[in-house]
Symmetry: C2
Subunit: 383 residues, 2 copies
């Protein structure tokens, strides 16, 4: 597999929030930000990858046409919660393989009508749940994963709650986050119980939004006066294997996919978790962040609770995880999330993260997982 580094010369995202704006308007804002950062004419895009889960087909084209961008190949893609990274991964491959020099990946979602719930209805029926009386299916799956972790490793409710405290604290400095208020451990634990051990402040809110990334070859970046762009040095997607489900609830939340995708990325990059300073990972629920520390190899299996207790995953620790505030604060518009994670890491690695800036960040890691499913892990490097 012929591979070359891929530069990310432009990124953008809207504020994530419940809003009445049309998806084309959201996309235009995110893509315009990315174009302005890249400083290259949008009409030069060779291909475009549009990620969204809900809505009519060819909405990717519609959003681009509204910006006067047409003619080029456009692919509308989805993979539930990892939809944004799926668009990003196709764009990455187009450039890494040598096929294209300059492509656009973007993603968006209008979440107001609870589309994830609608989408997961089939799964809900499979599990024999009554839609009206039970908690949201995603909370059940990720709550069960957390409970299995507690049983296996003695992880505590407080440790999961501390993840939320950390991410909400980070979000205070992110003007694009839906929620921007810090909260105490007591507040997290005292908020409404959604599904044991998950309280409301440990679940991501419902938000609309869009994100975008412009990818190109190193030659193209140089030609357009990007002397030292952030690069994707490795990226991999993994899907479920039958043996994953034998792990029980932890298997259901994608631990197997996450491990395999991360393993491939470390191998491709020739770098390991010890080389990383900043991480955006898929904290749709607090339990999933803690479990993902282990899947990404930040610690051994069962030691995720220790990492959060020791403060190793925030400013001053070994890694800053979810400096953006994560999905828990920002929200999680399915098609946009993977691009928003990418944007945060590119801002971090190029010194554009303002008050959220992780000092000395040279290598960043992104983790975006969707049940059903697909996990995409990406490693970024400055210089």
């Amino acid at each position: 597999m012929a591979k070359r580094n891929v530069c990310v010369i432009g990124v953008g995202m809207t504020k994530f929030e419940r809003c009445d704006r049309d998806f084309t308007d959201l996309v235009q804002e995110a893509v315009t930000q990315a174009i302005e950062m890249a400083g290259v004419a949008p009409t030069d895009f060779e291909q475009a990858y549009a990620g969204y889960v809900n809505g009519m087909s060819t909405q990717g084209q519609r959003a681009l046409y509204m910006m006067g961008i047409g003619g080029l190949p456009v692919y509308n893609v989805h993979n539930y919660c990892s939809t944004g990274s799926t668009a990003l991964h196709l764009g990455y491959q187009a450039v890494a393989s040598g096929m294209n020099e300059y492509v656009l990946a973007f993603g968006f979602e209008k979440m107001q009508k609870g589309p994830l719930e609608t989408q997961l209805q089939g799964l809900k029926e499979t599990l024999g749940q009554d839609a009206d009386k039970k908690p949201p299916i995603a909370a059940v799956i990720f709550g069960d994963g957390g409970r299995q972790h507690m049983e296996l490793y003695g992880t505590t409710k407080e440790q999961f709650a501390k993840v939320s405290v950390k991410n909400h604290r980070h979000s205070v400095n992110n003007p694009r986050s839906q929620y921007r208020e810090a909260c105490t451990l007591e507040e997290v634990l005292a908020s409404r119980l959604v599904y044991d051990p998950l309280t409301l402040l440990q679940c991501c809110p419902t938000s609309d939004g869009a994100g975008a990334a412009i990818l190109c070859s190193e030659e193209f970046a140089k030609k357009h006066r990007h002397s030292d762009p952030v690069k994707i040095v490795a990226q991999a997607m993994a899907t479920d294997l039958p043996e994953d489900f034998a792990l029980g609830a932890l298997g259901m939340i994608g631990v197997g996919m996450s491990r395999r995708a991360a393993g491939k990325v470390y191998e491709q990059a020739g770098l390991g978790p010890e080389d990383v300073q900043v991480i955006e990972l898929h904290d749709c629920f607090s339990t999933n962040e803690l479990v993902t520390y282990e899947s990404l190899g930040l610690c051994k299996e069962g030691e995720g609770g220790r990492l959060i207790d020791e403060g190793q995953v925030t400013y001053g620790g070994k890694w800053v995880v979810n400096p953006s505030g994560g999905l828990l604060s920002k929200g999680h518009p399915l098609g946009a999330t993977g691009l928003a994670q990418c944007a945060e890491l590119v801002w971090q690695l190029s010194g554009r993260a303002d008050k959220r800036q992780v000092e000395g960040a040279r290598v960043g890691l992104q983790h975006n997982v969707g049940l059903g499913g697909a996990c995409v892990v990406t490693m970024y490097r400055k210089g």
Copy 2:
């Protein structure tokens, strides 16, 4: 752009028909046919591209998991009526670029509840139509395109109807086609008027189905004892440009996209329409087949009617267009159509088309267009 030929060593498709079978069952049948033809272990697929318009996300994974195929990257993609070819095009690029050696593209659709109508509801509202009283929106758009062609070039209703007569005649020999009855010109013209000039027998029926194609490098094909496989020698996708819509109704049905995609393919291949013997093109309505003769350069603009009058597009003519019976006979399950066209051409070029066989076929052309939109044109060659 580094490019190499891509071999299609396995294809398959279900019979297209209204049925109660689950999509996973349909996919399994189509993919199993393709695997049997390829004679390679399915667990070796490096990536998979799943095309469908309607349904929950990650159905591509679900269909593969049911066959025991997991772990690999899976991309769920759509582009309305060209969804199948969109999956095929991503698979093609993965191999043509040198990134992958062996990938799977498949597509499926359950069409029973009129999902195209649901999907096009937004467009219908834009056009100010009353959903209950007016003909299906697709018939309106493709009917208007036909009427503009009549006004501009003197094309007749009989010429459009002859397209249906030809394709239904071809379908008699295709056991996978929903409709397999020949009909006379009088019968086509006398069938219920859907939207002038389109009568019922000039509209594709509603069908469920699945299709699949296995793509690999020439090296991989040789290693697995495919001594002379059918190759994709060129493929291109085009989307709309603002100036296309200035063409009026003909612009709406994708004439601009079709011309540009075909032009790119001829340029990439170094071959022209005169080098082609067999064509599968997007005859969702009879009008679109006739118009597409011109978009593909089989004749000059305005001369499509002459081609059908002269019998140049059937057995004994210059090209055999839609030997499968086309969408008009087979039906048009959105995600499956592009893969079914591919399957027919691979069968034709490898001498597997039984009573439909086009003698001396060495080069085939595929055209699949989706409003909204995207057009994919593909050139296949034997040897």
